[in-house]
Symmetry: C2
Subunit: 203 residues, 2 copies
DNA sequence: GCGCTTGTTGAATTCACCTTCAACAAGCCG
DNA sequence: CGGCTTGTTGAAGGTGAATTCAACAAGCGC
């Protein structure tokens, strides 16, 4: 029997439980009882807080996306060197390993997006925000003379995010030789070329 | 009442029906009756040919992947100019529009791959085969003096396939401004840079 | 045209999940 | 401490899907 919690606490628990359940069973295949099990509750209790399961799943996925995006921004916050910013940001766009929860969830949603307009819109927005993030890094670095960009920042930003995304899928699918380090190096090879920088952090 | 067909014909029908049903309902959410409906049969008839639905789904997805890959190879077959090969191949890796059946199915499977080792292996294999395809194009072009590659062909091939894949997801998710033409141009911008070629087909 | 194999249906069964709800436990506020 | 709100359970009922199977139709070999 689960300990009684306040409305707010329980809703936060349920969002995490829903994320875990979706990782196991997929965002559209997940069952009410599976979420309840992850939360250590009965299905009735879940329904008490979220009368419609799809509302809970949507909130859980939005929360997952925001966590991913804000973690990237937070890592960026302390840095000033454009080269360091770019290198760190490329890393933070990749899953740490094949079991990375945030990226696995994003990949699941990517599949769904073809037939679910809501998730499609959310992912599109996330993509565009990440592109903007890169554009800011690239243009700032360019203005400071650290980068000599070979194309407009929109093109470069889109390609950088695209590479991250695609390698995220490969890593999550457990490619036997293409792990996080290799993926980062592949993206860096592109970044070096289009920034004209060796991307070595100044001493 | 469906007309009676031979074993082979019906199995081919069922594979197509399964593909359509998966496009509507997702590869892991699809129901036996939905496949039957697409085939114009009852669930019993489907089960007669495929006692286990997951076998049918697997065959349908393998068939989808092979069709995608072999269509790319076929488009390549008649060409001799390395520039033309590269340009055509980049195009053939993108969905024609957001409703492109083959790519939509591949995207669905990409999401699944995080928790299904079989589909993960199939997609990994498809990725690697496409990388090899690009490597051949790039190295042949390089040997013929059409390209001056800026990195090893494995790096470039992987990045080209990665870009295709990622933009496939964006297009399928109906990005408002990033359509097939724009995606092709983004990938071409990368290809130009790493081949040192304008990628204009010689007259 | 007869009989056998192959393909298909429709109904019956079973099972899993969702949904609802009456009962009850835990705090909180008077 | 007594009543009220809030959170939770467990069981009951309803629904829908998978599965099984007896019956039947369509062609093929003879």
């Amino acid at each position: 029997m689960a300990t009684r919690k306040t409305r707010t606490e329980r809703r936060a628990d349920l969002i995490e439980a829903a994320q875990r359940a979706m990782l196991r069973h997929g965002p559209d295949g997940v069952l009410l009882n599976q979420v309840a099990e992850q939360a250590g509750l009965t299905s009735g209790a879940v329904l008490y807080h979220y009368p419609d399961l799809s509302d809970l799943l949507l909130e859980a996925n939005q929360a997952g996306m925001e966590r991913f995006y804000s973690a990237r921004m937070r890592r960026l916050a302390g840095l000033t060197d454009p080269v360091e910013k770019l290198v760190v940001t490329i890393r933070s766009g990749l899953p740490v390993d094949a079991d990375d929860a945030d990226v696995r969830l994003l990949c699941e949603l990517g599949g769904l997006a073809g037939r679910n307009r809501v998730y499609a819109a959310l992912l599109t927005s996330l993509f565009d925000r990440q592109v903007s993030m890169y554009q800011t890094i690239l243009e700032t670095g360019s203005a400071q003379g650290a980068f000599a960009l070979t194309a407009d920042s929109l093109t470069l930003g889109r390609n950088l995010v695209a590479l991250e995304d695609a390698y995220g899928y490969r890593i999550v699918a457990r490619h036997p030789t293409l792990h996080t380090d290799e993926a980062a190096e592949l993206i860096l090879s592109y970044a070096r070329q289009v920034t004209g920088s060796s991307l070595r952090v100044a001493a």
